[in-house]
């Protein structure tokens, strides 16, 4: 995604500053047995959170988010959009692939507060009512998954792969779909499914 920060978003500097204020509590060397259950402090701290306004699958959301929240955790834990999966939380597996302004990104590496004004598409936003996106149908037709856990990321990534025009050959699809790991090993069928859906465009 773009290196430029969207207008009004939190900068890396303010994020680090707010994180530092969290960790700035003086460390003690005393070894204390912690109380079993403390009474919870307020769930959201104004100093470490802020507002973000974005569209997700066509719906406008204005949300207060903890600065530390990734787009992935925002979708899954705050908005209940659990179709997007967390496989590694480190940008290495692609299970969390979503579209931000039409480009595929790892939701786990994208801070939610950077996305003010962004348009986000997740797997839940691909079908048109009951009619599946052609790539979703192609995944079923070619059995391009087994456990299904990487599938939302594969399909979102595949739609972008097609839109980017990286479907000239099986080898090209393999290369441009290599950011999405499938541990069940459905790769050859994923390539076939992307190829089929690309041909229908």
């Amino acid at each position: 995604m773009s290196e430029e920060l969207p207008k009004g978003s939190v900068s890396r500097r303010t994020l680090l500053a707010s994180t530092a204020s969290l960790t700035g509590v003086a460390a003690t060397n005393t070894l204390v047995a912690p109380a079993a259950v403390a009474s919870p402090a307020p769930a959201v701290d104004a100093a470490t959170s802020g507002q973000v306004s974005l569209r997700i699958n066509g719906d406008q959301h204005t949300l207060t988010v903890d600065n530390r929240t990734s787009l992935l955790d925002l979708l899954r834990e705050q908005l209940g959009l659990t179709g997007t999966k967390k496989g590694c939380d480190a940008g290495a597996c692609g299970a969390c692939t979503v579209l931000v302004d039409g480009r595929r990104v790892n939701g786990c590496l994208t801070l939610a507060r950077r996305l003010d004004g962004a348009e986000v598409t997740t797997v839940e936003g691909l079908a048109d009512g009951d009619e599946l996106h052609p790539l979703q149908q192609a995944f079923i037709d070619h059995d391009a998954f087994q456990c299904g856990f990487c599938t939302p990321g594969q399909i979102v990534s595949g739609t972008a792969c097609i839109a980017e025009g990286h479907t000239g050959s099986a080898a090209e699809i393999r290369e441009w779909m290599s950011g999405n790991i499938c541990r069940c090993g459905a790769y050859t069928k994923i390539v076939t499914a992307v190829h089929q859906a690309a041909g229908r465009r």
Binding site: A33, P34, T82, C147, R174, S178
Partner: protein, 729 residues
């Protein structure tokens, strides 16, 4: 008469496909509950020792933090003996119950907070002090446990007298399952009853473990698990985090979600242990084996003695009069391993199949021919006849498919900068099954559902079971609903070991047959039925329509039959109990895998060009899903052969590549042309379905086939896995 088989054998698309491609299939961590807290585990940062103190004051001062739980304040847990959850012999780890650290990464505390971000941050602020000791980490450093031994003939004498004698040491690396779905548990208590949404391959094991740890009756534990995002064995027993999630929920009196991080999966769940597998073989000059000695050492933890069926292939894959096997686990300061796809045979096949390739090269016999010369007439380990063994056909079919005749002498075939090689390996996986039950209900509207506790981690259990039930009930696929993944459903064995279709499939078949017969009985005794008075064995059911064979005009339907008789449903619990075939026959699925590889002559890069697998796996219930299983097993084999290696820091036991950027698994660009061929047939002795199991055998033999192809390409023999660029330098 027997029902027509319309669905079984047909490559139907997955019945849950739509849910999976739209993101609606709910995995454990997808479950959210109002008021739910998030838990993040703090792991030990020493490889062995004692905790001398825990400072959680900074963590507890954070906004949203509800609790930091460690052995200092955790509820004492009962941890009753539990023989029902796949625990290896020994004493299982008791989560957050004492100050001992048994391996690097062991859970020592858990931070619980209102949001995930708060819990993650709080966990990072917990300070733990240790009295650290030097852990024992290498196979040479630990104490070997008692030997599992096998012997026949006079191996020492035969080896001394052999025309050809060779000794080799093989070293497959420790590898991790790395399913895409991290292990996760959501726990919710209601008084003394607990419900967990848990990633597990054995619902009833998780249920039994929670009952024993929290000292409550099993009926008060419900485990829900409709979808599993891959597992490959990693979820065959409940790990400490399952207990920690339930403990945190109990102590905070709130629902708790605990998802292991990818890093934590490397020590929070099991793995395939590293092995030191030594072979001394004796043969005549034509490559006929006379003796083989196997000395096998494998990692286990200091607190449990993990074993797998690694001796079976040495006992019976090939014919020879003299065999001696000594298999010992070695107790180390690591967490306990667990079965991983093809457990035992996959490791043994690497050693044995590479050894046979070495022998073939030494005596100048074609490797396929060498295997045919050593093909046994019966199982020489048990003395039993084979139920079916079509390995010869697998070998010859695979040789034809890969173009085996193109194979050249090692290191002599080139394509530009690339050295080209072809290799092969055989393999088998013992057919197993275990008692299972399934509830089948036929509804008044002519639809049916089937409930059974089994998981579906990806092989297609929802679909294949639907096919079995549809045929036996005489319904179309779309009118049968398969319900899996809930401990409220009838119990099942582990969803692993390639036993699901044989065990649970047979229970589904039995229950469905029973319900169909109930309906037929009802019809022939119903004066208002067109089938009144007909002999029950003359009636077949198709698409919910009961007809007399040869008299298609005389028909009733389930819907009309149940309405006339004021029945809102018919129901039966089907069951499966293994017969004695296992005592009368040696039963295995067999595979021959062929690989063509290219190795960059100057850089040592290895690329797979083509893999062909040929399988004797009995009846194939769904060819489309079976093909996916096979190519998946091959992809896993590419990983084992060329990429996967869990690397441990010898100083403290830290796993240094505990992430998917440094622990490499195959990606799309690593996988070109894969071909799977299933021999037509069935195993008449196994179960009524005639299946032998697929999930394991398709993986066994892939890594040695690739290793042997690399030798054929380069003339360099690598006896360790993975075969890396460095190994070829």
């Amino acid at each position: 008469m027997t029902q027509p088989r319309n669905a079984v054998g047909v490559g139907h698309a997955r019945v849950e496909g739509r849910l999976k491609v739209t993101g609606q299939a709910g995995y454990a961590a997808d479950h959210n509950i109002d008021g739910m807290l998030h838990a993040v585990i703090v792991d030990a940062t020493v490889g062995r020792g004692r905790i001398t103190g825990i400072d959680a004051t900074r963590a507890q001062a954070q906004p949203g933090v509800v609790a930091v739980i460690s052995h200092l304040n955790a509820t004492r847990l009962t941890y009753r003996e539990n023989p029902n959850s796949n625990h290896p012999p020994g004493e299982r780890l008791q989560a957050l119950q004492d100050d001992r650290v048994r391996f690097f990464g062991q859970p020592v505390a858990v931070a619980v907070a209102a949001t995930l971000q708060q819990a993650q941050h709080a966990a990072s602020l917990v300070t733990v002090a240790y009295a650290a000791e030097q852990p024992a980490l290498g196979l040479g450093e630990g104490t070997p446990n008692a030997a599992e031994s096998y012997a026949r003939g006079d191996t020492t004498g035969a080896l001394a007298a052999a025309d050809v004698r060779m000794t080799m040491a093989y070293a497959p690396a420790r590898t991790h399952h790395n399913p895409m779905e991290p292990h996760a548990t959501v726990a919710q208590w209601d008084g003394d009853r607990v419900t967990v949404w848990d990633k597990t391959q054995w619902i009833n094991a998780t249920q039994a473990e929670l009952a024993s740890v929290f000292d409550i009756p099993r009926a008060q534990v419900r485990v829900v698990n409709p979808y599993v995002g891959g597992a490959f064995g990693s979820a065959l027993r409940p790990w400490p985090h399952v207990i920690i999630a339930a403990l945190a929920a109990r102590m905070t009196r709130r629902p708790v979600k605990l998802v292991l991080t990818r890093r934590q999966l490397y020590f929070g769940t099991g793995y395939r242990p590293a092995y030191d597998y030594r072979i001394t073989l004796g043969a005549d000059r034509r490559g006929r084996l006379t003796a083989m000695e196997h000395t096998i050492r494998a990692e286990t933890s200091s607190y449990e003695d993990f074993r797998e069926a690694v001796t079976a292939a040495g006992e019976s894959l090939y014919s020879m009069p003299n065999v001696r096997i000594d298999y010992r686990s070695v107790a180390l300061d690591v967490n306990t391993p667990i079965w991983k796809r093809g457990p035992g045979p996959a490791t043994a096949a690497f050693a044995i199949e590479v050894a046979l390739d070495e022998l073939a090269h030494r005596v100048g016999v074609d490797p396929v021919e060498l295997r045919l010369r050593n093909e046994p007439e019966k199982d020489e380990g048990s003395g039993l006849p084979f139920s079916t063994r079509r390995l010869r056909e697998c070998l010859t079919t695979g040789a034809r498919e890969i173009g085996w005749q193109r194979r050249a002498r090692p290191g002599t075939r080139r394509d530009g900068d690339w050295l080209i090689g072809i290799g092969m390996a055989a393999g088998n996986y013992h057919t197993v099954s275990a008692p299972a039950q399934a509830r089948v209900r036929l509804n008044a509207d002519g639809t049916a559902f089937v409930e059974t506790a089994s998981s579906d981690m990806g092989p297609g259990t929802y679909t294949s079971m639907t096919q079995v039930a549809a045929d036996a009930l005489g319904l179309t696929l779309d009118t049968v609903q398969m319900r899996l993944g809930d401990s409220l459903y009838p119990p099942t064995p582990p969803h692993g070991g390639s036993m699901t279709m044989a065990s649970i499939g047979t229970a589904v078949l039995n229950g469905s047959d029973t319900v169909r017969r109930q309906a037929i009985d009802l019809a022939v005794k119903d004066r208002n039925s067109p089938l009144y008075g007909t002999a029950p064995d003359k009636i077949v059911v198709r698409a919910g329509r009961l007809t007399v064979r040869d008299q298609p005009g005389r028909a009733d339907t389930y819907e009309r039959l149940l309405a006339r008789n004021n029945r809102d449903h018919l129901e039966a619990v089907g069951s499966y109990t293994p017969n004695d075939a296992g005592q009368r026959f040696s039963m295995s699925a067999y595979a021959a895998t062929f690989a063509e590889v290219a190795v960059d002559a100057s850089l040592g890069l290895i690329r797979i060009r083509k893999l062909v697998g040929v399988y004797d796996a009995g009846r194939i219930v769904n060819p489309r899903l079976a093909e996916s299983q096979a190519i998946g097993g091959m992809v896993g084999g590419i990983g084992a052969a060329l990429l996967e290696h869990t690397v441990t820091d010898v100083r403290d036991g830290r796993i240094v590549n505990a992430n998917l950027a440094d622990y490499l698994v195959p990606v799309n660009a690593d996988v070109p042309d894969l071909k799977a061929v299933y021999l037509n047939g069935e195993d008449p002795h196994m179960v009524s379905l005639g299946v032998k199991g697929l999930g394991e055998v398709v993986h066994v033999g892939v890594a040695p086939a690739i290793a042997n192809a690399v030798f054929n390409a380069t003339g360099r023999r690598v006896r360790s896995l993975p075969i890396t660029v460095e190994a070829l330098q």
